[in-house]
């Protein structure tokens, strides 16, 4: 109900003087709401992230601005202040992306292994760029990712959780937070992102809601073993969740190896398996021959 409260309202930027009319509620982020709006002068559509938190809006704007060269990030138009009724608010006007977030996507149809791993690699490469800039993504979750219907690519739509390395993570979801799973601290480092990336993979592969309460990584791995995916992929995911042994870079390399070699599925008929079957059949034939000869031999005796 409250989400539709501002439909039809006109919001005017204090500094840039652009006028936007609020058309539709799109979703709720960490610190604010996102609406589909129309610029009343140009009739162009935008997504407006509105918040009463100046601090968080400014931080998110800076991140978006810094990485505008990456297609994954939404194009930004402007940041400005405004009034909503008597409330002092702050907003980022950005590209309106037509499509669904991954949570909705998954509900419509469970995703294939290849697609899950492909998306994970794209997200992983993006994370690596953030890490090179001493930043950690922090708040990875299905709701923060969208499939752009027009461009047919993945888009990340919420950067409110991006945290400088070494700082404490403030925005998190227990499911993707390694501290909630007791496999690490809530301090921002690249392994924090490594854990959340693998939890992202597990959520999509198991295709069901996972609860953290009373659960464990070992338990998740047991469940994962019932899914039709290759042992080397399962092993890699386990290493990713534990965050030991592998660096983020090494993990990403191995993930891409799996993609390049098409090693998603367990191979039922591997080379040695085929040999074994041939050997089995051959041995069986020998026995059959021996049996026939013996029988024939016996018959000949009588």
């Amino acid at each position: 109900m409250i989400n539709n409260k501002y439909i039809g309202y006109i919001v005017e930027g204090k500094w840039g003087k652009h006028k936007y009319q609020i058309l539709q509620f799109l979703g709720e982020g960490g610190i604010g709401r996102v609406y589909k709006v129309k610029d009343l002068d140009t009739n162009e559509f935008y997504a407006l992230k509105l918040s009463d938190d100046l601090h968080s809006i400014t931080k998110e704007y800076e991140i978006l601005k810094k990485f505008q060269y990456m297609e994954l990030f939404p194009r930004i138009r402007e940041i400005d202040d405004c009034f909503l009724d008597v409330l002092k608010m702050y907003y980022i006007a950005m590209e309106y992306i037509d499509g669904n977030n991954l949570k909705v996507y998954r509900e419509k149809k469970p995703m294939k292994v290849q697609d899950v791993i492909g998306l994970a690699a794209i997200i992983g490469r993006t994370f690596r760029i953030l890490h090179n800039n001493h930043l950690v993504f922090g708040d990875l979750k299905l709701e923060n990712l969208m499939i752009d219907k027009n461009k047919k690519i993945l888009r990340i739509i919420d950067f409110g959780g991006v945290t400088p390395m070494g700082y404490g993570i403030k925005e998190f979801t227990p499911l993707y937070d390694r501290a909630s799973w007791k496999t690490g601290t809530r301090r921002a480092d690249e392994k924090y992102d490594l854990f959340s990336l693998n939890m992202f993979i597990v959520t999509l592969l198991l295709n069901r809601n996972i609860s953290v309460e009373g659960n464990s990584v070992d338990n998740l791995m047991k469940q994962l073993e019932t899914v039709d995916i290759s042992p080397c992929l399962i092993h890699l995911i386990h290493m990713g969740l534990r965050q030991k042994i592998l660096t983020f870079d090494e993990y990403l390399y191995q993930l891409e190896e799996i993609i390049n070699n098409n090693e998603y599925m367990p191979k039922f008929y591997k080379e040695n398996d085929i040999n074994r079957i041939i050997n089995f059949v051959f041995a069986g034939s020998i026995l059959l021959l021996a049996g026939v000869l013996t029988f024939a031999g016996k018959s000949m005796l009588y």
């Binding site: 100046l54 601090h55 931080k59 704007y61 702050y90 400088p164 700082y167 404490g168």
Partner: protein
Amino acid sequence: MKSIEVKQIIVVTDGKSNMGGNPVTAAAEASKYNIVVNAIGIIGDREDEEHLNEIVQISKAGGGTWESTLVSNLGCTLLAVTQKTINKTIHTIVGNQLKEIIGGSVEDIPPEKRSKVIQYMEQLGEEAEIKCCILMDCSGSMSNKMSTARQSIIELINSLQARAGRSKVAVIAFPGERGEFVKIFQPFTEDIKEIKSRILELKAGGITPTAAAINKAVELIEGKDQDEIEQIIINSEPLLKKSMI
């Protein structure tokens, strides 16, 4: 640059104070020592509006924020309230600095140019030293909420630990044992293992002497003399005498 110190008391209670002085007065006194008093009201099935009213008053007098929450969400709430306090403290300090330098606030700077100030504030907040005293209601009505309440304190400690700045946490239980109003369950420590194992011993049973708890917390934070602070209890309005066991 010396880091900023943020002193905070968080009162966690599921009922109205019913013994030992006026917690609102105690909160007002605490704020004179530059200690922010936040209050969290644990709500259950029956909506006890009167108790929430006291929560609001305590936080107002203590210059802090208030929240009402189910005990299952207490961990999140302790965190949110702490973060709000840090942000507000930094905002005020930097706001005053800005007033001196540019004669205005951060809002007078064009939005695209604010990021340096915001980053500075974020760094100050991250590196701030936190002295946080949690006052946990251990009256009889909290018995069935105690185990979740303990976990939520550990949740808060996990998050505070991850910060770059130092955090010291203390826990005061009210009431204490054997008829005491309060018990310093865990004095200020940075030793996480110690506090985590101590927390598991928190038990419930007894009345709700909120004011005494606040006073004890101030004493702990400031290292002050008990008598000085007890004068406040004696001089404030007496409350309902009905015991809650």
